[in-house]
Structures are given as C-alpha cells and as structure tokens.
C-alpha cells in the first residue's frame, strides 16, 4: 500500500515538474516548484514509513520549513525587481 502511494506521489511530482518546465509565466513555475517541494515532504515521510525509521521525519519537517522559506524568498525577490523575467542584475 505504501509503495502504491509512493508511486502516486511520484506521478504528481512529475506533473508538477512538467508544469514547471511548460509554465508560461514565472509564477506558474514558482507554483510548480512549491507543489513539488510539498510532495517531496510527503515522499520523505513515506520513505520513513517504508524503511520503518521514525527519525527520517525530522528531514521531512526540515524540508517543509526550507521549502516555505525558499518560496517566500523567491517571491520577495521578484516582487522587488518587477515582473520582467529576463532582467538580470540586483534588484533596485
């Protein structure tokens, strides 16, 4: 049962990656990466159940924390430097 759930999580991760590659706007990509991160948290928790070691869940918790911080930092950066995706250089 755990393996089947794992495969389903992998399928949704693949779909999120496809959207990240296809996504026309920048925000589609950020959304896809955010969803991918959340699914990774679930996948790590699943691996913890499969292997039977409860202490993998610390990694899952940490991943959830970092994923959230990463998305917020990315949004902060793009909010400051405006909407043009290809504009290099530091934000004003």
């Amino acid at each position: 049962m755990l393996a089947a759930a794992g495969i389903a999580v992998l399928v949704s991760m693949a779909l999120a990656l496809a959207r990240a590659l296809l996504g026309p706007t920048l925000y589609d990509r950020i959304l896809a990466v955010n969803m991918f991160g959340t699914k990774t948290v679930l996948f790590i928790a699943l691996v913890a159940a499969l292997v039977g070691r409860g202490d993998y869940l610390d990694i899952a918790l940490l991943y959830a924390l970092i994923n959230f911080i990463g998305v917020i930092a990315l949004l902060r950066y793009h909010e400051v430097s405006g909407v043009s995706e290809s504009k290099p250089g530091p934000p004003p």
Partner: protein, 110 residues
C-alpha cells in the same frame, strides 16, 4: 489486514489520489490563478490525508507526533505561500483570465 491498516490504506489512497488530481489540475486549468487554486487546495488536503494515513501506520509513537508537527506546519504555510504567490503575481500585473474579455481561447494553452 487489521481495521487500522484498512483505515490507513484508505487515507493514504485518497491522499495519493488527491495529489494526482492536483497534478492534473495544474495542466487542465487555463490560467495561472485557476492553477493556483487547483494546486493549492489539493496540496493542503492531500498532505493532510497522507500524513494522517502515515500516523495511523506508525501508531502512537514519537513518529506520529512528528507527523502531527509536519501536518500543522503545512497547514499554516501552504495557504500562506499560495496567498503570497497570488499577491505577488497580481501586483506584478498578471490579471485573471476572463472568457469574455479575451475571446474564448485561454491565454496559456501549452
């Protein structure tokens, strides 16, 4: 399989199903904001069901407490990040797509 095993299997199955539905929703929806809705809603509920199923699988141990912490954290941050994402997109000038204003074709069909 014990009753608990069946319940855990049910929760895991529905959580996994919701995850795949969220992934499909990412591709079916025409516009960013509808995609945000599709991904955000199923994301939160999928992790809730999933972690609930795993907690039953682990039984009343420390691991279930950790799973509850992960669940609580995801419950707070997933909607927050979706809101921040929509807010940034809207401030950057990305307007939701309406069928009437720009004809019937969605702006971003892959």
């Amino acid at each position: 399989m014990s009753l608990l095993g069946i319940i855990a299997a049910l929760l895991l199955g529905s959580g996994a199903l919701l995850g795949v539905i969220g992934g499909i929703g990412l591709h079916r929806m025409p516009d960013f904001y509808t995609r945000l809705h599709a991904a955000g809603v199923t994301d939160t509920l999928c992790s809730a069901l999933f972690l609930g199923g795993l907690a039953i699988h682990f039984g009343p141990t420390l691991a279930s407490v950790k799973l509850a912490l992960i669940f609580m954290f995801l419950m707070f941050t997933s909607p927050t990040s979706c809101h921040a994402l929509a807010n940034t997109a809207f401030n950057a000038g990305l307007r939701p797509w309406q069928a009437s204003s720009t004809g019937s074709t969605p702006p971003s069909t892959p």
